[in-house]
């Protein structure tokens, strides 16, 4: 028997109702589809980011900022490897996730962390505040070394396990810190970067110096690391999704050993002279490479905040040889003399008689010059001098008389152009350092801000004594390099090359090592020879810089003492004293300028006035030059000029002694009768 199923008959109304329900369900489904489309397609990126933010955290992977390296190649034999003057050392920052740490353990944790990081009481208070903030991530300690990090980690792994605290409630982030293996060496030149970095790019803020000048080369690009928030994933592990790009390394011309010698001797010299400070520049006269650039008081870059927060100490962070200009005083005389000798050559070229002869007897008792209300004076009264005596005794009047002839025959414009074109005075040397001062060379027809003309009738006679002109020490080193290298132009530089290392590949971004010397002749050979001859007398008996006479080597140079301008007036109590010279004379290894800022005004028995360049700067030159030449392995070129008591000493055979004796006799004949 089969059972018949009775299917109720669906009437029209039911069908209609069913259709509505179907339509409604379809509409709901359609809405769902729209919402799905909105969430997945239109707002997909936003929701993905939100979801990732809940589970993942992107951390910036720090890059290694470029280093500065010293120049070991100044020594031709046994050059060492370039040594890092500054390097980025890996360090760690300590973070906590305060919301994941149960309240009852916070106090204990704070105490332990304080013990491990050697925390002071005020920092402890800050730490307590950080632990009680409602946050998922707080940086509680910066710049931890790897040993401290390991200690903290060792304690934490055991402690978090025992107390059942999520392990990533305490974690570390990697970073690099600027570190200075040689301490304050070259502080003012290098400068540093601030402790705080730009949070989004991890870029450093340089405080000045080479760090600032070369920031574009030194900085890299931070990478990205993704880390999981889940308690199963400790936060110190994560995938690097973008590798950081490191900065380029800069190889300087500075030699670390010569720099150390310069700084050590400078410090001794400044203390001995009871000066406010001092600086030294050592430069290769042929390539323009700066071997040493020292300044005292030093700037310890690791304590930069202490210097910048103290008004009196900010001055120590400035590199005065580059950023400060001063009136050079008598060290300017060889430049003037070279121009006078060059004027002689100019006269010969024009088929006329030379203006003067180096051996000519010139009357020097009258110091009156046209345009000057006060006469020029010499430290001692000399009746007659020739060119060699003029420079040996640093006579203002002798040089004034010669310069008078030059301006009368060739005019002021020729004179001014000679200073500007031969020695580039008034122009920046373009050394790689920020805020270099161009100095000042008076311009004809231009007015000072006070309305007075820059170049007037008496200006050339002021230039004779190194007044009315402003120079920086790099400019002076450059001028003397032109004399020392035989009259060729030279450009000072602090950088040998810049190299970017990436994936074992080296890319040289800048190279000065293969730079051919610009063989632009600035001075005639004859002029240079005469000038060097004259400069050799200054460090011998009867000269102003006999304290710079170092045994074993020949040298040529000039002392300078200039009054500082205080409130628009020349001070009689504050001086800038200097000595600049080069050694050995035949093929100089370097030009060295030593400047003493405000040496004590006093008389030193057996030496003379302490504030004279010959008394306070010349001995520093001698010490630095002697130790530097020994380091460079330079053989003696004046082997008989040895210290008293040395068996090799024979002053009769010593260099330049005969010339000094005969010049001394001539001086006595002209001035003592």
């Amino acid at each position: 028997m089969t059972r018949k199923i009775l299917i109720p008959k669906i009437d029209y109304d039911d069908k209609k109702r069913l259709a509505y329900v179907q339509l409604f369900l379809f509409f709901l489904f359609f809405l769902l589809l729209i919402q799905f489309y909105k969430i997945q397609i239109i707002e997909g990126d936003m929701w993905t980011k939100k979801a990732e933010a809940q589970h993942q955290q992107t951390q910036l992977e720090p890059y290694v900022r470029g280093s500065f390296f010293s120049n070991p190649y100044v020594r031709t034999t046994h050059p060492e490897e370039p040594q890092a003057l500054v390097m980025d050392v890996p360090t760690f920052h300590l973070y906590i996730d305060p919301t994941s740490i149960p309240m009852q353990y916070k106090k204990e944790m704070i105490l332990k962390i304080c013990e491990l990081v050697n925390c002071s009481s005020d920092k402890k208070a800050k730490l307590i505040r950080e632990f009680h903030l409602k946050s998922r991530c707080r940086k509680i300690w910066c710049w931890l070394d790897s040993d401290t990090k390991e200690k903290i980690q060792k304690w934490w792994f055991t402690y978090s396990g025992e107390k059942k605290i999520v392990r990533n409630a305490l974690f570390f982030s990697n970073d690099y810190r600027r570190s200075y293996p040689f301490g304050s060496l070259l502080g003012q030149v290098l400068h540093t970067v601030q402790n705080e970095k730009e949070p989004h790019t991890m870029q450093c803020y340089p405080t000045g110096g080479l760090e600032m000048y070369f920031n574009d080369y030194l900085k890299g690009i931070a990478g990205r690391r993704i880390i999981m928030r889940s308690p199963r994933h400790p936060l110190d592990v994560g995938q690097v999704v973008e590798r950081p790009k490191n900065g380029a390394d800069i190889y300087l011309t500075i030699n670390h050993y010569l720099q150390a010698i310069a700084e050590e001797e400078l410090e001794k010299g400044v203390k001995k002279a009871q000066a406010k400070g001092g600086w030294v520049v050592m430069m290769d006269p042929f390539s323009g490479e700066i071997y040493a650039l020292a300044q005292y008081p030093f700037f310890d870059v690791s304590l930069y905040q202490k210097y910048f927060n103290n008004k009196s100490m900010v001055e120590y962070t400035k590199l005065k040889p580059v950023v400060d200009a001063f009136e050079p005083g008598s060290i300017f005389k060889p430049l003037t003399l070279s121009i006078c000798l060059q004027a002689n050559e100019e006269m010969i070229k024009q088929g006329k008689k030379p203006l003067f002869s180096p051996t000519e007897k010139v009357a020097t008792s009258n110091g009156y010059f046209p345009g000057r209300s006060t006469p020029l004076k010499d430290t001692h009264m000399h009746h007659y001098l020739n060119m060699y005596m003029g420079l040996q005794k640093s006579s203002n009047i002798y040089l004034g008389r010669i310069l008078q002839r030059v301006r009368e025959k060739l005019g002021d414009e020729w004179l001014r152009n000679a200073y500007a074109n031969i020695y580039h005075l008034g122009d920046k040397t373009q050394i790689e350092y920020p805020a270099e001062t161009p100095g000042l060379l008076p311009r004809i027809g231009k007015l000072h801000p006070n309305g007075r003309p820059e170049w007037s009738l008496d200006t050339p006679y002021s230039l004779v004594v190194g007044h009315s002109v402003l120079v920086n020490s790099i400019q002076m080193a450059r001028c003397y390099s032109i004399i020392a290298n035989g009259g060729y132009d030279v450009t000072p530089t602090l950088v040998r090359k810049i190299v970017k290392k990436e994936n074992d590949k080296e890319e040289v971004l800048l190279d000065h090592t293969n730079k051919k010397i610009d063989k632009i002749k600035m001075l005639d050979e004859k002029v240079v020879k005469e000038l060097i001859k004259a400069m050799k007398y200054t460090t011998k008996r009867g000269g102003t810089a006999f304290l710079a006479d170092m045994p074993g080597y020949t040298k040529a140079g000039k002392t300078g003492t200039s009054e500082k301008i205080i409130d628009g007036k020349y001070s009689q109590q504050k001086f800038i004293s200097s000595f600049i010279g080069f050694t050995p004379v035949k093929h100089p290894r370097f030009v060295l300028i030593v400047v003493m800022d405000e040496p004590a005004v006093k008389y030193v028995p057996g030496v003379g006035k302490n504030y004279h360049g010959g008394s306070c700067a010349a001995p520093v030159f001698k010490e630095i030059a002697m130790r530097a030449l020994q380091y460079l392995g330079e053989p003696f070129d004046d082997p008989y000029n040895r210290p008293v008591g040395d068996p090799h000493r024979d002053m009769e055979k010593a260099d330049w002694m005969k010339e000094v004796k005969s010049l001394g006799e001539l001086y006595r004949q002209w001035n003592e009768n």
């Binding site: 293996p181 060496l185 670390h256 392995g633 330079e634």
Partner: protein, 119 residues
């Protein structure tokens, strides 16, 4: 009736498939093991790199020229002097081998500098 031949064929296919599947899983495991190893190796490399940097820094600190200058003035080392340029001889290392090498590839000159007669 299912033929014997078909059974054998099917068994071989299943066996081969199982074998392939096994090797595939084995390979996957190997990759996973390597991936885990990479993480720990990368960590170790980072650690070594950091240690190397730290040691380099410490060596540099030890070779601080200011310290070396102080040491050179101490009585123990006061007798040591920098050699003059003419007292340093530069000798070519393994001259013949160097010449041979030069024939085939233009390599850099290898020189050995020896200081003699240090006063």
């Amino acid at each position: 009736m299912i033929s014997k031949k078909l059974i054998i064929r099917t068994t071989v296919v299943i066996f081969m498939l199982a074998l392939c599947f096994y090797f595939c899983i084995e390979k996957q495991n190997e990759f996973t093991a390597r991936q885990i190893e990479i993480v720990s190796l990368a960590k170790e490399i980072d650690k070594l790199y950091a240690q190397n940097k730290k040691l380099t820094y410490e060596i540099e600190q030890f070779e601080n020229p200011t310290k070396l200058l102080q040491l050179s003035q101490s009585p123990t080392y006061a007798h040591l002097k920098h050699p003059f340029v003419q007292d340093v001889l530069s000798m070519k290392e393994n001259l013949l081998a160097h010449r041979e090498a030069q024939k085939y590839n233009k390599s850099k000159k290898h020189t050995l500098s020896v200081a003699v007669g240090v006063k």
